[in-house]
Symmetry: C2
Subunit: 343 residues, 2 copies
């Protein structure tokens, strides 16, 4: 970690993309022209809610498990997660013919717990913080010799998650005669997605902006203090974005490349989720709405004409969705200017 | 109409596609591997819910208005519609710098009425059947000299709507080494979408299947009796699929190419809508769920390995969506087999 040479690179993301071809969905990149009058810029989204298991996490887990030596694969894998990474590791274990055991928080959404179970993984419930479930996973690994597939602080995970940004950047570049994105907004939990995004986007002159729920702002506070800071995560709708701290590797990459960091509240997350649903016809989970929520509720700290947003996942249950529809009003809809979106 | 030469052709759809490039969204075609265990075949959907104005209707209207001589464009356009075609004509009028007047049913969903208004069109309410609003449009046209943009019984409309099928067939062919779709399920109101689909799909050996709500089965009954039949449309969730009869041109094309016709009930439509939302993260309106509902609730009358479905639109209001979430249970979810979907 102290050597720059140890940090993953854009080339690692390219390697991951080659490995993952045919193993993950090349999810749609869409220009959401209908929402552009509300945000005042071109809006390009990457629909990782349409990825296998409903979230980008399938990318990193399939790459990390797929790169293990065969004898390690045979011993099975272990992980800890609030939900989507757990599903992703369960999926990856099944894809590579082995078993997965997963430490999940006792307050994980039922829809995520059921999805992990239905993918054939064994669940061990362990507290409500990322620390507690990490400890449980370490114990499982020590018991069985199974490798831990870390949720974010791992070079293969970072490279795998980076492929979502790679696909989005390639798509926008092709659609804009090479101009590409001026800014990219990425939700941050432990930092896997944003570290991968930084590796790809920074090389192309795209400024990467992290978005965290208020009070779950481990990345923002770490950036502000110049070193990793732990937080006591506040309550938030975005259950996927509340680790105690960002990963060491993830922070090291962010420190070199991150252009800005923003915080969003539940009101913005809920309204954005409902707006995306009713006006863009896309279902995202609260964590998946967070990055776009920043664009709806905050000024960007620099000018940007073409803005990308990663819609990181769509795993939300019927009850919570019904509740959010009742509680939140969509942002005001301005109808599409014809010809504005041509992709 | 009595001459075969007068029927639109696959070449007309290609012309429409060339005209519409850059004017409509090339919507995603997705393989929904997560739903495949429920339907027992490969499932490829065309996401016209992600089209401009939230429905495929933008295609036909932009092509029909765009092909008018300039002096006709200047006089404005008139149409009649239960909703999505009204929005589409309003959009097209604005795109080509003219005005639109639209006869809509008094029971049109509020979300559709507001969308038409916000696109700058003038609305005239006229009864609840397609006949009544057609009469109102004729009167408006006679008064002002404005051209009527018919919702379905028109060669340009059919050619324009056909471009959705063209894109889907091209996509699946490319993804399957040229094999393409065995069957394509298309929802039918007046028959614009299905006539266009027939022109494209029949040429490629893809068997086209129409889907209508029970009791709104003008196409099925016309196919069964060998001539156009009018119906008294029954109540249905699918407000976009209840014309009194299918168009003359549309029926003529269907008679030559349609492989089968199916009917679906509200239960299947509602459950399919909720399944698509929670398990595929896509919001469709009831009419947009109808074709897939047939695959969930009926056996196909012939074997098909790769089945395409057009998700025709996504314009549904918050209240109806909330109501459907409360009333309908999704079809049982089987998690994604890794590697099953690779597109």
């Amino acid at each position: 970690m102290s050597q720059n040479a140890e940090l993953p690179s854009a080339a690692n993301v390219q390697d991951a993309a080659a490995f993952l071809r045919g193993r993950v969905t090349r999810t749609p990149a869409l220009r959401l022209a209908a929402l552009e009058p509300m945000v005042g810029c071109e809006l390009w989204v990457k629909c990782e809610n349409l990825q296998h298991i409903g979230a980008f996490k399938a990318r990193g887990a399939l790459y990390a498990v797929g790169r293990l030596p065969p004898e390690q694969v045979r011993r099975g894998v272990v992980t800890y997660s609030s939900g989507n990474h757990a599903q992703a590791v369960a999926l990856a274990a099944r894809a590579f013919g082995t078993t997965a055991r997963v430490a999940m928080p006792t307050d994980a959404p039922r829809v995520k717990v059921e999805a992990v179970r239905s993918l054939g993984a064994e669940i061990v419930f362990a507290g409500t913080t990322s620390r507690e479930r990490q400890r449980a996973a370490l114990a499982l690994s020590a018991e069985t010799g199974a490798v831990i597939i870390a949720p974010f602080d791992d070079p293969h995970i970072i490279a795998g998650q980076g492929t979502a940004t790679l696909e989005l950047c390639d798509y926008v570049a092709a659609a804009t005669d090479g101009a590409g994105l001026d800014a990219l907004l990425v939700p941050v939990g432990g930092g896997g997605l944003i570290a991968g995004a930084c590796l790809v986007a920074a090389e192309r002159g795209t400024r990467v902006v992290s978005v965290e729920p208020e009070g779950c702002d481990a990345m923002a506070r770490s950036m502000e203090s110049g070193q990793r800071v732990t937080v006591e995560p506040a309550a938030t709708l975005a259950d996927g974005l509340k680790p105690v701290e960002v990963g060491a590797l993830n922070f090291a990459v962010a420190q070199r490349h991150l252009a800005a960091w923003l915080r969003v509240d539940d009101e913005a997350i809920g309204r954005t989720l409902v707006t995306l649903l009713l006006h863009a016809k896309l279902l995202v989970e609260p964590s998946g709405a967070a990055a776009l929520a920043a664009l709806f509720s905050k000024p960007l700290p620099f000018p940007a004409k073409r803005v990308g947003v990663i819609l990181s996942g769509g795993n939300i249950g019927k009850d919570l969705l019904t509740d959010l529809l009742a509680r939140f009003t969509p942002y005001e809809h301005a109808p599409l200017a014809p010809g504005a979106a041509t992709v």
